[in-house]
Amino acid sequence: MHPEADRLDDDSPGLPRSYVQTHNLTRTFRRGSEDVHALVDVTLVIAPSAFAVVLGPSGSGKSTLLNLIGGIDRPTRGHVRVDGLELDSLTERQLDGYRRDHVGFVFQFNNLLPNLSALENVALPLVAQGRSWAQARDQAAVELTALGMGDRATHRPSELSGGEQQRVALARAVISRPALVLADEPTGDLDSASAEIVLDLMSSLNRDLGATFVIATHNPRLESRATHVIELTNGRMAAPALRT
């Protein structure tokens, strides 16, 4: 991660090759008559296949940063580039395609559609890509089995524990083999044993699939697994740390 990177045109010589790159990324929300600065001038670089952890207390801008990198929100100012795509210049339709083809999401809670089974939830990204439900379900079964959830495939989310739900969400996030997986407090609602299982799975998927993982958390224990650590306080970056 290199906060001093001041442009997005090319990777600078001597710096690690970037997969995610932001420059002066700022997001301001309007709440009533007041402006809330959720993210202020965040400039960073995350290398391909990194296991990056965004640390910070609640309200520090972690989720906002993930939203902007994931293309589910747009910056007020600044730029985001992922895999060479300038997200802020993409149309809505292009952003839809970007999320569909490049990104997998894991949220903190209520990750899954309650009316669909675990298998159907996992199949969704493939259906979004145009695959038939039958094909998508077959692939989803393989994915769930790989994550140790094969016997829970027909269960609905309300019939699964928190840890199981997050494993299903993880399966859904990686089923289309995205190059970028964004996880927002993926262990926030889990007990420590379940959290460890989910984190182990994420680490192994990061190794096995080569996908870049960016994980927002307020849990400093995750720092030990990270190749990159980004600390946010009140929407601003603290001192960077790079472990490669």
């Binding site: 997001r27 301001t28 929300f29 309007r30 709440r31 402006d35 809330v36 959720a38 309200g59 989720s63 906002t64 939203n67 994931g70 589910i72 929100d73 747009r74 007020t76 809505e92 339709r93 839809d96 395609g97 999320r99 569909r100 083809d101 997998g104 999401f105 949220f107 209520n110 990750n111 899954l112 559609l113 309650p114 009316n115 669909l116 159907e120 969704l124 990204p125 259906v127 979004a128 890509q129 439900w133 609905r156 859904r172 289309s176």
Partner: protein, 379 residues
Amino acid sequence: MIQLTLRDLRHDLLTFAFSVVGIGVLVFAFLLLIPLSLALNRFGEAGGLPQNLIIIERDVLQPEQSRIAPDLAQSVSAILGDRLNRVDPVIFRILRVEDQPIQLRGVALESWETTFRLQLIEGAWPSDASEIVIGQLAAQAGGWSTGDDLRIYGQDFRVAGIADGPGTKTQTVWMTHAAALGLFGPERGTQLLVAHLQPSADPLVARQDLENGLPSTDGGYDAYFEDALLREYGAALNDLRILSLLTSAIAVVAVTLGSHNLAWLAAEDRKRQLGILRAVGFDRPAVGRYLLFRAGAISVASYLLALGAAILFIRLGIGSNTLTIGGTQTALSLSPTTAVVGLFLTCAASLTGTWLSIRRVLSASPASLLGRGPGSSFA
């Protein structure tokens, strides 16, 4: 998205059922009100006999309220001359016979087959003043048959036969003019004159001559073709018909608003789910299709439920598909055209209501659908 919609509905059957019933009630009202309007419209279109002119007291709405001067038949004969076949005074009453609304007509027996073109279906014509003939619809409604005794206005009459005539839409009892005069007394006299023209006579000219030539004493008289009288009689129901059509339109608007509210609630309830769908790669049109398919499925199910209920109600609730107004029957039926129009309007209203309600959800960013970030609008 169809499969996603079906899975969603299947897993949420209770909400789906309540939505279907909620919309279905409105569609049911629409499917009943339109046939009612059409039936009321048809009420004034009874087929008449072009060679029969009915002379009735001017501005009288109910024929039984009309009173004809005793010497008017002579005036009619004098005006029409050899164009007239015969003129008959008619005693007309609407009354209840054994709980059935009945139009009673007292006319000279010799006119029944000529002027009024009655045809015997069973039995015989009356042989004396104690016998009557009943119309086919009255026989069906009252369950009466030849040989039965009917108590009419406190006096017993024997059914000599059952008859039918062209354009007959009323539950009718026929008795001779003398029998009717004996039954009701001379005070209210005759209500109508029916002038039966020669086939060679021009009915329009004859009618004009009657209107110009009839005396204008006691408020004057009107001359109608038989069907025109029925039409005028039916015009009294015009307000009811308009009200029925208006209520039908309100039902359609209510379907739109109901669908709007249902879709709005569904979208609000599923905001996070819609956000997840957007996040995992479904674009706006796909999410829009999901919500519209859902509304479409609810509206089609509502329509089928309402159609079935309306058919059952018309067949079982009203019985024999007939609606009786003042002793006159008119068909209450759900035609294929009404059914198709109902389906179209239900779907159109439902999809319009849904579209109006989901525009905001569709234009929202996935982040705001997921409820993420401290605010909801870009600074």
